[in-house]
């Protein structure tokens, strides 16, 4: 494929999804300024690898690169934050264990959640353990399907589902407590 065709493909595949890329990077790195740096790095990688884009969901393809770039960037710039993430296996066990409690035991009213203010919700998302946070962001902010998230994170769909349920459960109880 010619350089020009590759450049056109870059414009078609990458540019429409910059908003999603920034949103994901913002939630993975924690702030908007770092998100721009990360997305720019990711776009350079995407440009270098555009010939390998084999069609399919362009947004998922770009977000995969953004996610990987975010963690590389975090490891370089915030090694301490990365260490705090902990063991993924433990978290998934935790998610599974949490689910055995009956759903209505500690859940706040839906109306309470709906009234939660933006700052409280953003703080609650930022406080989620990283695997839960990224799953929630990929689903509810980036709008990827379970299958796409499962492919991106290289985990079974069941794990995506339990992480998502756990993330939402934590958010709901946090918002219930805050109000």
């Amino acid at each position: 494929m010619s350089e020009r065709a590759l450049a056109e493909r870059f414009n078609e595949v990458v540019l429409p999804h910059l908003g999603d890329a920034l949103a994901l990077a913002r939630w993975l790195t924690g702030n908007a300024a770092d998100a721009e740096d990360v997305v720019q790095d990711a776009c350079i990688k995407a440009h270098a690898g555009i010939a390998g884009y084999a069609g399919g969901n362009a947004r998922a393809w770009l977000l995969t690169i953004v996610r990987n770039t975010s963690y590389t960037w975090m490891a370089r710039n915030r090694p301490r934050a990365m260490m705090a993430v902990g063991d993924l296996g433990d978290l998934d066990d935790m998610a599974a264990a949490h689910g055995t409690s009956l759903p209505d035991e500690d859940g706040p009213e839906a109306s309470l959640i709906a009234r939660a203010d933006t700052a409280a919700l953003e703080a609650a998302i930022a406080a989620l353990p990283q695997p839960f946070r990224e799953t929630l962001v990929l689903r509810d902010i980036n709008g990827l399907s379970y299958r796409e998230i499962s492919a991106m994170l290289a985990v079974p769909i069941g794990t995506v589902m339990s992480r998502l349920a756990r993330a939402r459960g934590l958010l709901a109880s946090e918002l219930g407590r805050a109000s």
Binding site: G19, L22, Q40, G99, I113, L121, R168
Partner: protein
């Protein structure tokens, strides 16, 4: 309480199913079953309402703005390398123009003999090349690309001069590129009833596409070539191990011309017109074989 609706019966399982319902991940049958469970159980209904409310709140969160400055920065990444390409294409069109090299058009020549013929064209900037500025690095980039083409050892392409040289050279380079590409065709089909509508839908033009498999020339598909800035249909036939590209340019003047030999170097090329289309057949087959193909195509296409 147990159910016979195929859903999990443990609290955790049904909870995940409610999330999946809210996320639109269930098919109609499963969604119906989950909705029935929710309707029958206030605790599940409360959980469902919570999930819907939470998802709505997260979805409504303000999203980062994509500033114009940032978008421009990213778009600039995409432009890297394109300008060199434009320079190279400008040089290529020079090669295709009879005025630049009377009687000799070298597309991807092999060896030093051709190189000697091309060099003068580099020294003579075309209007298009001039438009892209006078930076020395551009000329250097272009000469590097030409050297790369020369070094690739692709079969040389030398043609007689004539008004259609630019078009013929473009047809030839399209054919050469197709041989290097992962697939020489965009629509794979031996069925002309598939190829013709495909071309028609893409560019609104579909030339005759007879299947000559019985004659030893199997239609294997088609693609769209862009020549002189216009999309034109190209059919691809296979004869033993050889590919034949047949470009069909819609005609304006309705003139009919007999097959004209434009072959030279490693490729055979024949050009003719039937009043509706102007055809260019190119292959690395020997001339007599290509002539045979052309004769059979013309007979079948009438």
């Amino acid at each position: 309480m147990t159910h016979d609706d195929g859903l999990p019966n443990d609290p955790e399982g049904i909870r995940l199913m409610i999330h999946a319902l809210v996320d639109g991940e269930l098919d109609a049958a499963a969604a119906l079953a989950v909705e029935r469970r929710i309707a029958a159980d206030p605790r599940l209904a409360a959980e469902h309402a919570r999930i819907v409310a939470l998802q709505g709140a997260v979805t409504r969160l303000p999203r980062p703005d994509v500033s114009d400055a940032f978008r421009a920065r990213i778009a600039a990444i995409g432009m890297t390398g394109t300008e060199q390409q434009e320079q190279a294409e400008a040089t290529e069109s020079q090669r295709g123009a009879p005025s630049a090299l009377p009687g000799l058009i070298a597309g991807a020549g092999g060896g030093q003999r051709r190189e000697a013929g091309i060099r003068p064209s580099q020294a003579r900037p075309s209007p298009r090349a001039r438009r892209f500025g006078s930076f020395d690095w551009r000329a250097m980039a272009a000469s590097i690309m030409i050297s790369a083409v020369l070094a690739s050892g692709a079969t040389q392409w030398v043609m007689q001069s004539g008004v259609d040289d630019g078009f013929a050279a473009a047809v030839a380079s399209g054919h050469r590129r197709s041989l290097l590409a992962a697939s020489p065709i965009d629509i794979v089909s031996s069925d002309r009833h598939t190829v013709k509508p495909w071309l028609d839908a893409r560019i609104g033009v579909s030339p005759p596409a007879p299947d000559l498999a019985q004659d030893g020339y199997a239609l294997i598909g088609g693609r769209v070539e862009v020549i002189s800035g216009r999309p034109v249909p190209a059919l691809v036939y296979r004869h033993r191990e050889h590919l034949i590209t047949l470009v069909a340019e819609p005609q304006q003047d309705g003139k009919t011309t007999q097959p004209d030999d434009l072959s030279s170097g490693g490729f055979s090329m024949v050009h003719w017109s039937d009043g509706a289309f102007s055809y260019w057949a190119i292959s690395d087959m020997e001339r007599p074989e290509l002539d045979d193909f052309v004769a059979r195509f013309r007979k079948a296409a009438v």
